[in-house]
Amino acid sequence: MEKNESILKIRNLSLYHNKIKALDNINLEVKKGELLVLVGANGAGKTSLMETILGSNVPQHGEILFKENEIKGKSVDYIVRNGIYLVPEDKGVFSSMTVLDNLLLGAHNNRKDVPLKLETVYDFFPVLFDRQKQIAGTLSGGERRMLAIARALMSSPEIILIDEPSIGLAPIIVNNIFEIIKKLNNEGYTIILSEQNIYKALKIAQRGCVLETGKIVKYGCSKELLNDEAVKNAYLGV
């Protein structure tokens, strides 16, 4: 596949949680190798969209094409096996288990070359190598977020969905995490990143889209969005 070719196409996607409409007719195309930011306030539908792509939510309408194949209605383990992985918001790791166990869980469905993948991950995150045997619950917030991202790499994903990685972290650690995400993108991973605090996110992303109450209200390249008056007022606090 060439660059600029789309790897994920979402068409007319709607999702209800019971009676509440969480996603409202979403149309979105993600290009191979790009870093796309989903911007939106609390409750805008970022997590719902990511979990729907992953197959954890089953949408009532629309289609999701991953490399031209319909994945709507497929199980999460099928979708993970085929190359989409979610780094969940909030907790992100299994805190009662060791760092190594957490990493191996990432490879639960993609068991090829586990030693090799571990090596790559430890090269990328030397901190985790030193702490393999440590219980994940005793890691610092930043280390935990790194572990959650590292776990994603263990599954050999093509698309990594990263849900609000900056939540609850000190600004300096956030910068760190964003550098890591940028670096992963440079290595060729397609990344969809959700963020509330969009300034840093748009700085490292190529494109972004703004979600409001389940609808995409703006969609464009990062520069455009950073200069957009409405976006500035709503999200950049200027």
């Binding site: 383990d77 009662s96 191996l104």
Partner: protein
């Protein structure tokens, strides 16, 4: 002093059977996310099957094999009932699964009291229990038999295997992930239903082994035994802390020793009452269990 030592050994072998039952119960709670109150009834059912096969074939080994087989099969064929409840509700439904388990237990208990031995308690052959052999230790009325030592050793081995499986294998890792957080486990790509199903097979195997050990230990069984054990297993699990595997291990052993000591020094038939009074006190003092609940 000798009485005490002998009763402690007695208690350990009784306790190790409780440990196996509680561990299976906790595993089902953590991984399959059900309260399988009647799991011990399935175990007692398997005791009946092995008794039946032993009588029919005259072979102890065939009896043992059929006990294990029947527990695995019964646990696996009833799994879809529980999984259907979970799937339909879209999430864990401990209450509904508990009712399903109780119903299952009542049906099995009825079958045991109507179909086998005209409802009378069954007695296992001496060849299995070793009751025809001289006991290893004899202190007045108290004895420790070879069978009890075998039970103790087998239980230790099975608990070790189980913990190895949980902490050293890929399936065990998935079990622990589900136990900690089912939603997150689903997101990393662990198939909840399929992995849950494995836990039914494994606990079925464990139940089968336990049924054989119980046949050796008790030498007999009655239709009401499963219910009686069901109470105890649930109580031990709650007192240790629901879903706390290590806690279940400790409290299961303690209950066995406690009961044996009461039986050694007082009238045996009051051991249930005394145990439950003690448990009541503990549960009032520590509602989350001695070791903390894991769910």
């Amino acid at each position: 002093m000798e009485v005490l030592a002998a009763q402690i050994v007695n208690g350990l072998s009784l306790g190790s059977v409780y440990v196996l039952l509680v561990t299976a119960f906790n595993l089902l709670l953590l991984v399959a996310m059900i309260i399988h109150y009647s799991f011990p009834v399935i175990v007692v059912f398997s005791m009946y099957i092995s008794w039946f096969v032993m009588n029919l074939s005259g072979s102890i080994w065939l009896g043992i094999f059929s006990a294990v087989l029947s527990a695995v099969i019964l646990n696996v064929i009833t799994a879809p009932i529980f999984q259907h409840i979970m799937k339909k509700r879209g999430e864990v439904d401990i209450n509904a699964t508990m009712v399903a388990s109780m119903g299952m237990g009542m049906i099995i208990t009825d079958i045991l009291s109507h179909v086998f031995n005209q409802g009378f308690p069954i007695a296992f052959p001496d060849k299995l229990t070793g009751n025809d052999k001289a006991p290893l230790i004899k202190a007045g009325l108290i004895t420790v038999s070879q069978g009890q030592i075998i039970i103790l050793l087998s239980s230790v081995i099975f608990v070790i295997i189980l913990f190895w499986l949980l902490f050293k294998t890929r399936t065990g890792r998935a079990f622990r992930a589900i136990a900690e957080d089912p939603h997150e486990a689903k997101l990393v790509g662990i198939p909840l239903m399929k992995t849950g199903f494995k836990s039914y097979a494994i606990t079925g195997l464990l139940g089968g082994v336990t049924s054989v050990l119980m046949a050796v230990l008790l030498g007999s069984a009655s239709a009401g035994l499963g219910d009686n054990l069901g109470h105890k297993v649930l109580a031990v699990s709650i007192i240790a802390g629901l879903g706390n595997l290590t806690g279940g291990l400790v409290v299961g052993l303690l209950l066995g020793i406690f009961e044996a000591i009461i039986q050694g020094y007082f009238a045996g038939s009051w051991s249930n009452t005394v145990s439950f009074l003690v448990m009541l006190v503990i549960v009032l003092a520590k509602p989350k269990g001695l070791f903390g609940s894991n769910i």
